[in-house]
């Protein structure tokens, strides 16, 4: 492993770890880069979706005849155009999904299960005609009572979404269906015994609201179907191979006949790991015999993509008076949306993962309710459970009068700790991040009245997965790098740096692209903080093949034995006596004689990347509360997180900063607001309040690097951990500023003012 870590340019310099300009950058700053909605094909039709106005209803009938008769309408599809799918669970990013549910989420079959649920779709020669056509589709609904809140949905008398959903994970198996899809559990030791040894126990219940990933680019797909059963699709996605698999399955096509190009993607954060428009666009194109382009409106994104769970979480943590955590319990209830599959499993895994606790018991419930099906949102499940735990840890620190960083250090997971969810940690950087925060000027800066400081730590396990990358040396010595995981934030820069160092080729001579599904073997999606980790690992493999190949070619050219040649610093070098006879040859030198020495030069890394190392982070935030209005201002923010090895420091910092600001929005202002009628009241950027530039200060980012020994460069995934600590850190800062522990998110001004007034703390 360590042997490849030292690979470098001919002059001994490394590109890895420097702040290069990303290779796809010029196109992005000039408007030339093509995102999902920027693709067009001649003769294309515009597709639009008819969506349920009801949160819960049986579909009695769908009559599309008037729409089909409208001039300009070339195809209309409904559930009749999709074969039903038998129940089968498959991985979807870091969550699981069931094809039986996928086909129903893409187009409702028996019932509509949320306002916005797709019921039919049309393809027409213009947007105006498509919109008119939707109005002509007649759907008869039999409305049903609905339920949205997770606790409400768990009640035995709650409106039932699926009459074939029987809770998995309880014994004995229930006789009656319910909205509780699954019960999960992790257990270590004996918490009841552990609590008996605690000097202090804090038990609290927390509530969070559904929030959306908030990507600025709406979903978009362009499909063209050919009479031979093949289809080409351009879509903005985090995983075009996954899109291919889903579309092939849902439409009954050979995977090899579905060619998907991942366009540039304008944000995903987990929300673009599933399919919405793609199967519809293909089905419409198949029927209309013309390309079909579909783009969601912002309202559709909010109503019909995959906001994450709202949840209720109960936490009970016991400690000795010297601050040792002795027993930890939590019960998580997460909304899954219309179909099962909330991130409650990772939520249970992550809840106490930062701490070394002997007795741990976490139970989680996956609960369906009449809101859109949950999709992944950056470290899915963890921000919610760790918000609750970090709040209680803070409360224990205050009650025991122990410094909150000291308390965390005392209990911190470290190398050798066995996490309650199973694995034993290798080297990890939690303590380093805590120390890094403690050393900042921020930690000691003075505060005034109504200002508060909060700290919290967080964890995400990160994944590896199937990855395929090709490296090709072109005739002029430049290198073409083709990866198969969409680049959502600077990946191509990092991968190009690794390839440059591996082959000793200048950075600007490496040209990375994201290949379509026809060009590379299977790649799992961009998610789980895996793309830089796995992609770089696969590049190392591909580079190994090239280096071995070049050494073999040198052997022939120089009539040398294998132990007389080696590859280092971008050259095949003759060793020993041979060095007096021949000069080293660079990759570019070989490129010139490729044909003569055996043919094109290249390598393909095909791996199922293992050894993903977890990334721990600690966040520190100062805020100020206006006691007369309840408005919170974030004054100062510092992130320290372990990257293992930062392939490109600026893009790693960017992940820390972006995740922190998403957390600020989640903590203070973002939430789905439903009326009593089950309809979403804030389906736009006006009232779904994401942070704007004036809402946040600079986010100081500290890169901690505790190398991951299982990766050739020491890399850990970093993309998800940044959103995990902010909720707890901000809630803890609010407590410091106001003396009030807020157990419900978001901590929006009306709630804060009311709490201040109730405690007699506001003069209003």
């Amino acid at each position: 492993m360590a042997e490849t870590n030292g690979h470098s340019q001919a002059n001994g310099q490394h590109v890895v770890g420097t702040r290069t300009v990303r290779p796809d950058g010029v196109d992005k700053v000039t408007g030339r880069a093509r995102f999902g909605a920027d693709f067009n094909l001649p003769g294309q039709l515009i597709g639009r979706v008819l969506r349920s106005p009801h949160p819960h209803a049986r579909i009695v009938s769908i009559d599309t005849s008037k729409a089909e008769a409208l001039p300009g309408v070339k195809a209309v599809i409904t559930r009749a155009d999709f074969a039903d799918q038998p129940s089968e669970f498959i991985p979807a990013g870091e969550m699981m999904m069931n094809y039986k549910d996928v086909v129903r989420n893409v187009l409702a079959r028996e019932k509509v299960l949320y306002e916005g649920h797709a019921v039919a779709a049309v393809a027409a020669t213009s947007t105006a005609i498509a919109r008119r056509a939707l109005k002509l589709i007649e759907v008869k609904y039999e409305t049903l009572p609905h339920v949205i809140d997770v606790v409400e949905a768990m009640r035995p008398d709650a409106p039932l979404l699926h009459d074939d959903l029987f809770t998995v994970g309880v014994e004995p198996k229930p006789e009656r269906p319910s909205n509780i899809a699954k019960r999960v559990e992790i257990k270590q030791g004996d918490v009841e015994a552990g609590f008996k040894t605690a000097d202090i126990i804090v038990e609290r219940e927390f509530k969070t609201a559904p929030v959306h990933q908030g990507y600025i680019e709406p979903h978009a797909a362009l499909a063209t179907f050919s009479e031979d059963g093949s289809t080409e699709l351009w879509t903005t996605t985090q995983g075009h191979y996954i899109v291919r698999a889903h579309c092939a399955r849902l439409l009954g096509l050979d995977i090899g006949k579905v060619r998907v190009t991942a366009t540039e993607i304008g944000g995903g954060f987990g929300g673009k790991t599933v399919v919405y428009l793609e199967p519809l666009a293909i089905a419409l194109s198949r029927k209309a015999k013309r390309p079909v382009k579909m783009v969601m409106s912002r309202e559709e994104v909010f109503k019909a993509s995959g906001p994450t769970s709202g949840a209720t979480v109960r936490v009970k943590l016991g400690a000795t008076k010297s601050g040792k955590f002795v027993a930890a319990f939590a019960e998580l209830k997460y909304q899954a949306g219309a179909f099962q599959g909330s991130p409650v499993q990772p939520g249970t895994m992550c809840a106490y993962a930062p701490y070394d606790i002997e007795h741990v018991h976490v139970i989680g419930y996956d609960v369906v309710s009449n809101r859109p099906k949950v999709a992944a949102y950056r470290a899915p499940g963890a921000p919610i459970s760790e918000y609750a735990v970090e709040s209680v840890v803070d409360e224990i620190a205050k009650k025991l009068d122990i410094d909150p960083i000291d308390l965390r250090m005392q209990n911190a997971a470290h190398e050798g700790t066995k996490a309650a969810y199973g694995p034993k940690f290798g080297p990890i950087g939690l303590e380093e991040t805590l120390n890094a925060i403690r050393k900042t000027e921020h930690w000691n800066a003075p505060l005034r009245k109504w200002q508060g400081r909060g700290v919290a730590s967080g964890f995400w396990f990160n994944i590896g997965g199937e990855t395929c990358v090709s490296l090709t040396v072109n005739e002029d010595g430049t290198v073409s790098l083709m990866a198969g995981t969409p680049d959502i934030g600077g990946l191509r820069a990092s991968l190009a740096a690794v390839a440059a160092d591996e082959l000793g080729v200048p950075y600007d001579k490496v040209r990375p692209i994201i290949g379509d599904t026809g060009s590379l073997g299977f790649n799992f999606l961009t998610g789980g903080s895996r793309s830089a980790f796995s992609g770089s690992m696969a590049i190392v493999e591909a580079a190994k093949q090239i280096k071995a190949d070049l050494c073999a070619r040198a052997g022939k050219l120089w009539e040398a034995k294998p132990d007389q040649v080696e590859f280092s610093e971008g050259h095949v070098r003759p060793l020993g006596a041979l060095a007096e006879k021949v000069k080293p040859m660079s990759v570019a030198d070989f490129a010139k004689v490729a044909g003569k020495t055996g043919g094109p030069i290249g390598g393909v890394g095909r791996i199922n990347a293992q050894g993903a190392g977890p990334s721990f982070g600690t966040h520190l935030v100062d805020l100020e509360v206006d006691p007369e209005t309840g408005r919170t201002t974030i004054l100062r923010y510092t992130v320290a997180q372990d990257a293992g090895r930062a392939l490109h420091p600026a893009y790693v910092e960017g992940q820390y900063q972006g995740g922190a600001v998403q957390g600020i929005g989640w903590a203070l202002n973002e939430e789905y607001v439903y009326g009593a009628d089950g309809k979403l009241q804030n389906a736009g950027f006006l009232d779904y309040r994401m942070p704007v530039a004036s809402d946040v200060p600079m986010i100081d980012a500290i890169l901690v690097e505790v190398a991951n020994p299982k990766h050739p460069y020491g890399v850990r995934g970093v993309g998800e951990t940044p959103i995990v600590p902010p909720l707890g850190a901000i809630a803890n800062a609010m407590e410091a500023a106001t003396g009030i522990r807020f157990t419900e998110l978001p901590m929006s001004p009306p709630k804060v003012l009311k709490a201040l007034k109730d405690k007699g703390l506001s003069k209003v």
């Binding site: 702040r19 700053v29 408007g31 944000g267 959502i488 490109h648 960017g654 600001v661 950027f685 006006l686």
Partner: protein
């Protein structure tokens, strides 16, 4: 109903197009003039991804009708570089990694350009409030604000 026939200037070039009354300038730029650099994030003027400069004024092109721009001058992201020479803001954004997914970048560049043409020495506060109409979900704004201020400083040095 016949379409409007509009003559205007886009990025210094005369253009001619037909549009319906309800077509926004954003629709015209993207779908009729094939200038897809301006992005549609919300169609309600809340995200700024469609920002353009209309007769010297920073606006959301989703809030302007195509038929309103007859005889007027529109500047989009596509006109910001001069040939192969990037605008200092474009260069700085690249050097400072002030973009991740890049969807909001055209809007931020157009808006920042408008700011620096008005004020050569904006404070961090002024930059943040000027850019409050441009949403970014990836960067947390830090590197964008720094890039704008650094560019302002560099441009002051000449």
């Amino acid at each position: 109903m016949s379409k409007h026939h509009i003559e205007a200037k886009v990025n210094g070039d005369p253009v001619e197009f037909l549009c319906e009354t309800e077509d926004t300038l954003l629709d015209v730029l993207r779908d009729t003039l094939s200038l897809t650099g301006s992005k549609e994030g919300c169609s309600s003027g809340d995200c700024g991804a469609c920002s353009v400069i209309l007769d010297g004024r920073l606006v959301c092109s989703c809030l302007v009708l195509g038929c309103e721009v007859g005889g007027r001058s529109v500047e989009t992201i596509e006109g910001m570089a001069k040939g192969e020479t990037l605008h200092p803001l474009q260069k700085r954004f690249l050097e400072a990694a002030a973009l991740q997914c890049g969807i909001c970048t055209p809007g931020f560049l157009v808006a920042s350009r408008a700011l620096l043409e008005k004020t050569t020495n904006p404070t961090e506060h002024e930059v943040r409030y000027w850019l409050a109409g441009n949403l970014c979900r990836c960067t947390g704004y830090d590197k964008i604000v720094t890039a704008v201020m650094d560019t302002a400083a560099a441009m002051r040095k000449g």
